[in-house]
Amino acid sequence: MSEPRPPQLAEWLVRRAAPAADADFVVGDLREEFDERLASLDVAAARRWYWGEVLRSLLPLAGQRLVSAQRTTTPPRDADSMWTPLLGDARHALRLAARNPFASFAVVATMVLGIGSTTAVFSAMNAVLLKPLPFAESMRVVQLRAGVPDGRIIDNLAYPDLMDFRRTVPDFSDITLYSSGDQTLQHGDDPRLVHTVQVDETYARVFATRVALGRWITPNDRVVNGPKVALLSHDFWTREFGADRTLVGRVITLDNETVQVIGVLAPKAYTYPVPAAEVLTPLVITPNSPMTNRGSLWAGASARLKSGATIEQAKRDIGSAARALASAYPASNTGISAGVIPIRDAVVGSVQSMLELLAAAVGAVLLIACVNIANLILGRAQTRAREFAVRSALGGSPGRVRGQVFTESLVLAMIGGVVGVAVAPVFTRALIAVYPDAMPRAGEIGVDSRVLLVAAFATLLAGVLSALPTARQTARLDLARDLRAGGRSGGARRDRQMGRALIVTQVAASLALLFGAGLLLQTFWRLTQVTPGFDARNTTAFHVFAPAARYANGSKVNRYYDDAGDALRTIPGVTEVATGNMLPFVGDQFHDTYIQHERGDQGTSNPRAAIAYIAPGYERALGLPVTRGRGFAITDDSASEPVVVINEALAKRYYAETDPIGRVIDWNLKSWRIVGVVATTHLDNLWDEPAPVLYASTRQTPRRSRYFIVRSTVPPERLLSAARVVLRRVDATIALTDPATMEERINASLGAQRFRAALMATLGALALVLSVLGIYGVVAYAVSRRTREIGIRMALGEAAHHVRRSVVGDALRVACVGIVAGVVLALAAGKWLAGFLIGVSPYDARLLAAAAALLIGVVTVAAYGPARRASRVDPVDALRGE
């Protein structure tokens, strides 16, 4: 084993901070002490010590580095000066900051917020969007996708088509097929669900999978009815089996079948399409089954590009290969296209737009923060105009004076930046915690050199931006005037211009943020007003699976579900229990086409619907109104006529003029009679047009995998623990999984909207608060500069309310310019947000007017305080003050 090394980031930092000639010696000394500490401490403690030592060393070293850099470029002006002008300025800045602790704290806190959140968002973007996926040459791996006749793009393809692509598409070195699912592991006391991916032998070549122990899958493992084998992930093997090396070759129980463990994956091996699959099993293709039908799109597929092949070329080649298949097999492949996308895009998906939105909003807040700081620094510089003038008079060049302004602002920004980077992980964790679903690649988020670079850049930018107005002003010093005035007046016109620019910027940026937040809040609010089509209150649903090894045929499966249902009904408070393989707001739907008996085969325009297999009582348990006919009865069984129930959406689309009850359809090799119509429900979310659904009874077509829907007055947690107890009595080997109330499921479907709305509302509120502070500061400052003028006007008989009105009016006039600029900005933001909006126009004039009115109100309030103070100016004091 190699020697533990000191933390590389720390070493890198100290190397950068130290004078170039000293870097090797400093690092060497640190290494020497580190190695000695390793002898007595554990590695973690030694690394902690190293970090502490480095952090204590940075400041002295950086100071010395600046001095020696200065010495080599310019000879010291006199032998006594030990500190270069820059360091002198920095010390001066720190002294000033300490003398003015409140203002300095405000500046640094604003910087910490701004830079911290910018760094946090960038570190997320860096990990999620910029870094390649963590396996060898992942940039050369693509995922295959299919376009289906109704225009959707899906991730699954047909097995025979993929076999043809392996022969006909020249761009790939390998195409791998896989299918993912969950299996129940029996190990220890409670059965539990594990994520499984079924893969073929080429998977390891595409995803650069390495095996730590045992062997990889061979074609022999994939023969039909061969011995069952599995590979375990390193993490799962450690967690569940205590990293027992003798496990390889032994058997485990998955879905009630004994499976031999043939190997363990390397630590952190990447699995796809499930990011942290626990088990990989060989993908077994059963000949002459639905798996080998050309029309059945079930297999996930990814491919590795040959060297020299490009994604564009691969897209073209696989597209033409799919067209060739469509003309060769029109019955199954008409309208089926194929394409590829980079695997990273497939993994990251919708997060990209979310993070971009976040980055823009955080950027706007950082800008507002900078404007505030600029204003604070400007205000402070005004009171120091005399100091600057003295410095200039004593021979300080304008460049030197400007340099001092920048140094002061940069010192504060740097403190803010260092603390900001330190707190960024806290922001990042909060972001991941509130993110709807699991953020892909969240585990990879961290601070690396690229993140540090961006943070440094943000710090520099914030420091320079904040100092810019002041530096511009000091560059135009009027010595005689400033010395004479001693910081009382002077540069009034320029002051006002600067103050106006600050107000305009803040009002404009705040308006855009508020408008964006308003659009997203409105979208969210509208969705919460949509009814799902069933009564979601007091219903809880969970999943169970009756495996073939214990329940060999359909009637045995149904008997299990009957017994389990009876057991659940014994729980006090439970009123209805039913099962179904598909529930609204749960998982994906399976869609199929059928033939309307009275119209005959219409080819590609045959009706198409989502298929749900449900048990009698489903509509009562789910609170789904039966609008015509009846629901399924227990007597609709395998001995009686096959019957189906449809939803209103299907009735409206295909039986617009006739009564569907009693009509017959041909589907699944049988004829079925429609006996009832139920209300339409939303299936995946509350915004898409609800799909037509065809319901079949589990009594006539049993399903192994189902959800229980339980309507009860019992609180969900109590119900679930009681359900676990009674179900264990029916069959202790079956796991109860994915439990949640229907209300929770609907809420979860709104997660992305809620996240965006809450985020923008938070940032909008932050922007508003910062703007209030900033505008207050600008107006208060302007008023204090006009004390003399106001005093004279009042001495000449101007009424107090006139003074107030003129101060507030001035601020409002400037704010109006900001609002005009803000409207332009807001409309651009709205257009950019359009993809996130549902039922809300991105040009919502009323909302825009409301945001503008809010800002006018805010500006009025912010300006009123200083205006009141101005109107109380005692003319005598004001004039004597001169």
Binding site: D22, D24, V26, G28, E33, R56, S57, L61, M82
Partner: protein
């Protein structure tokens, strides 16, 4: 006395450590000597910055050792106090001693 001859407190400690360590004064040993005798923490970075500063004033000279005879062995930067450094150290400590002479810093008065 020229102003440049004033020594900071830490610089006094470093010079004293150099004098004690004679030919074995480099980052690690100087740091350790100060921590052990003066009982105050000193970081490697502060030590290096201080000896560089003292060298600028002509109080310290450097000698770079040959790389240590082990794999990956590194060179060390040894510091040695110069006669001017010794003079400055004496002046500083003498000034301190004169200032403290007769001064009682008892506790609990």
């Amino acid at each position: 006395m020229p102003k440049g001859n004033f020594l900071g407190e830490f610089e006094v400690l470093v010079l004293a450590a150099l004098q004690r360590l004679e030919d074995d004064a480099y980052g690690v040993t100087i740091k350790r000597e100060i921590e052990r005798r003066a009982g105050r923490p000193a970081s490697i970075g502060a030590v290096h910055a201080a000896v560089d500063r003292l060298a600028d004033k002509g109080f310290v000279i450097f000698r770079i050792s040959d790389p240590l005879p082990v794999p990956g062995g590194r060179a060390r930067k040894y510091s040695k106090i110069t006669p001017a450094g010794l003079r400055a150290l004496r002046q500083s400590t003498a000034a301190l001693a004169r200032m403290m002479d007769g001064l009682e810093l008892g506790i609990g008065r």
